[in-house]
Amino acid sequence: MGRLLTYSDKNTWIHRLCGVTKMVFFILWSIVGMITYDTRILLFMFVSSLLLFAMSKTEYHQVATVLKVILFFLLINVVAIFFFSPYQGTKIYGTRSDLLHLAGYYTFTKEQLFYELNIILKYFTVIPVALMFIVTTNPSEFAASLSKLGVKYSIGYSIAIALRYIPDIQKNFQEIKTAQEARGIDMSKNVKLIPRIKNIIAIIFPLIFSSLERIDTISNAMELRGFGKHKKRTWYSERAFQLSDYITIAFILLFSILAMVITFYDGSRFYNPFIILSFIL
């Protein structure tokens, strides 16, 4: 069973920002990181996301498990790209400079190296910001502040319920798992495939059915209290926008526009050092 990232309460300016401000920042940041292949922008984003990460006083052990999983997937992905398409870089940058001939079809080129470095960089521009967004944002405050963006409160409430019930359902899962293990039902990889599927069924079926029952209990309770009667509602953990929120949003908007202009200035989303190099040489 893996571990999930959780919010931890600290007092830094990043923690004090509105949940929505951080979400807007995170979304625009990852969209820019997704679109651009401009190495200069990616480098800038990488360095500044590390700075922000340090400012949020997030400690390494909070994110260590998750970070290892990410790095593992990143490694697999980078190797897979080379395996499936060793000349993707050559295709993108339009030149070919061989570094090392491996075997048969596979040659390692400078362009491929550069392309894959960009991909790794893309991951690293988003990872610190994403991790930080989760460990610094109070879930209930976040759900409450969604209404500021004009999101209907029933949707905000769905998200609030989801975030509120993750720990409960996780606990429920552990209880059922322990109870079934006491009866000799094991879902670990020590068991063969078919019995393992059967054992998993013995654990997740009660979990899913009890949760479906929960849906009825909660919706009846909400109905009794008149949920959805009015167009607006108030939130217990809502936080008002402050100067730092406006500054953050202004910054990320400006940055996104600037980054897009620089990226597409020469008509391609890829920053191409090889053409420039061939001019010089």
Binding site: I70, I127, I159, A162, K189, I200, L207, L212, S219
Partner: protein
Amino acid sequence: MKKFTIRSVVAIGIGTALYIVLSLVSIPLAFIPNTAIQPRAALLALLAAIFGPIVGGAVGLLGHILADAFQYGGVWWSWVFPDAVFGILAGIFASKYQIEKGGFATKQIVLFNAVQIVANALAWIVLAPILDIVIYAEPANKVFTQGAFAFLGNIITIGILGTLLAVAYTKVKASSSSLDRED
């Protein structure tokens, strides 16, 4: 189509939480590389089949975003949208399955599985690889191979686990509402 009721609000919330918790459970299929039985896919199909396309789509979207974020700290958008599309498609015939009325029998099982196979094909063989190429500029043959494996893993998971879940749930529901009034 059903209205967006309080029950849908709660179903989206609890369904999403359940989807995220189940994301931590998966069994790799040794005989097909890169493919795993993911109970969360079966859950998504079940929720869509019970509550309809809105709940299905919302749980697919929110669940995948949050599960990605809590597990990896990043969101792989090109695989988020296919899950949402799958949830919507799987829920289109929700009223025909009659799971909550205890009517999920052979005919419904066939329809449920036909729909899930078509929906999975659209989501993972068509949509996910295309988004991977458009958004992340990844090599085409890599993403189509990945998509094909995801498709296989999901139709197996939903075919077995999803069908069993729906059959079991319809029995629970039938027994609780099959009381006859005595004359």
